[in-house]
Symmetry: C2
Subunit: 206 residues, 2 copies
DNA sequence: TCCTGACTATTTTACCAAAAAAGTCGGACG
DNA sequence: CGTCCGACTTTTTTGGTAAAATAGTCAGGA
């Protein structure tokens, strides 16, 4: 919208805040520190943002919007629906990696992150529904309800994510653990792709 | 097994404790109350159980063992593997319903429940692996690794469960919500059964 | 062996005061 | 006017402590 040469001050603040949040987490970053990083006073921050939480939300929302942009591009593309679903999963995992840093330092942050994810989940369901619907239209997927299936996929991803971080957060999470998580998500994707593929047979629903 | 404590006094205690725990949760039940229910002194409880937590663990473990018995019977049975997997899911949901009551009153209980579930998860993976392996042997299922797939299934179930209670526990959970959860698990089962069915085609793994 | 009453040890709760951080405001400066 | 600061007020977190509640122990009795 307004990126002329003059640095958008809000963007600067968001960037500085992002660095701090990624390193220490919401609770362990003070507004004074962010202000000091930028060489301005805390009061200046409050000129641009009404609250600390608002700064944090904007940092996360920015990442989510980048993700949304990438997914929209994928949906617009002309590959087949299964390929799009694969791409979606790939981007989803990338987003998670980015948000991983912001989400540390638990407890005080949890309700906020929950909010952020809940709001964004509607968007994600929309994307998944779009991909599934297209696949259905093109006879690449066979699903009863694209909406319902999209929601199931999202809930499984969310569930695996929550489960993962619930069992891992004690102690820093090693990249090996993250890889295990990635692998499991991709294994789910494989089963899912067959499970919703159009050319099914041999299984009777009871 | 038990000629230490002759009669079923332990069972009596477990039963009384179960009633209390199911109604109020671990944190809101005192040993004095359980003892009073049985008309004995608190010290008597400590004759049979070394700690309050141990009583709780035994209550939960009893339910899990009942579940294990039922699953073993199912595995021994002679139905087809997909049917066994369906039965497994059905029993799994039933177990969850039973444990639901015990698991209320959060925070103090969480690490204990986590322990209980974690220990039991090895058993559950074993059951799932057995069902999947049999299906594979009988050419009813096509899975690369029964073990890995069993683990994935279990993690998805665990994830959906955690996700569900994480988003629902504020406020009492209504039976309508539980039904939504059940439906989602069963929808996952449908996709899973197709996804691992032997007669797959038309989808290339990339 | 099974249990009790009376004990001790530990955990939870309530409270408060001090410190830290969030958030506000009148006014300066270009 | 839009941008920012210093000084201010308000809210939240922290730390410490005492009382209450509850877990857990023990010597001994039936």
């Amino acid at each position: 919208m307004n990126h002329q040469h003059s640095h958008d001050k809000r963007a600067d603040i968001l960037e500085a805040a992002h660095r701090r949040f990624a390193r220490f987490g919401l609770a362990k970053v003070t507004m004074d520190e962010i202000a000091a990083d930028l060489g301005i006073s805390k009061a200046a921050l409050y000129y641009y943002f009404p609250a600390k939480e608002d700064v944090f939300r904007n940092v996360v929302a920015a990442e989510q919007q980048d993700f949304a942009k990438r997914i929209e591009a994928i949906i617009e593309g002309d590959s087949e629906a299964p390929g799009k679903l694969r791409e979606y999963f790939k981007q989803h995992l990338a987003l998670l990696g980015t948000l991983l840093d912001l989400g540390r330092a638990g407890d005080s942050i949890k309700p906020i992150m929950r909010d952020l994810f809940r709001e964004f989940s509607a968007t994600e369901t929309g994307f998944l529904t779009a991909i599934l619907s297209e696949g259905k239209r093109r006879s690449e997927f066979a699903v009863d309800s694209s909406e319902q299936t999209a929601q199931l996929i999202q809930h499984v991803l969310q569930g695996l994510r929550i489960r993962f971080f619930k069992t891992m957060t004690p102690g820093e999470l090693r990249s090996a653990d993250i890889k295990a998580y990635r692998d499991e998500v991709l294994r789910f994707l494989d089963i899912l792709l067959i499970g919703i593929s159009h050319s099914r047979n041999g299984v009777k629903k009871i």
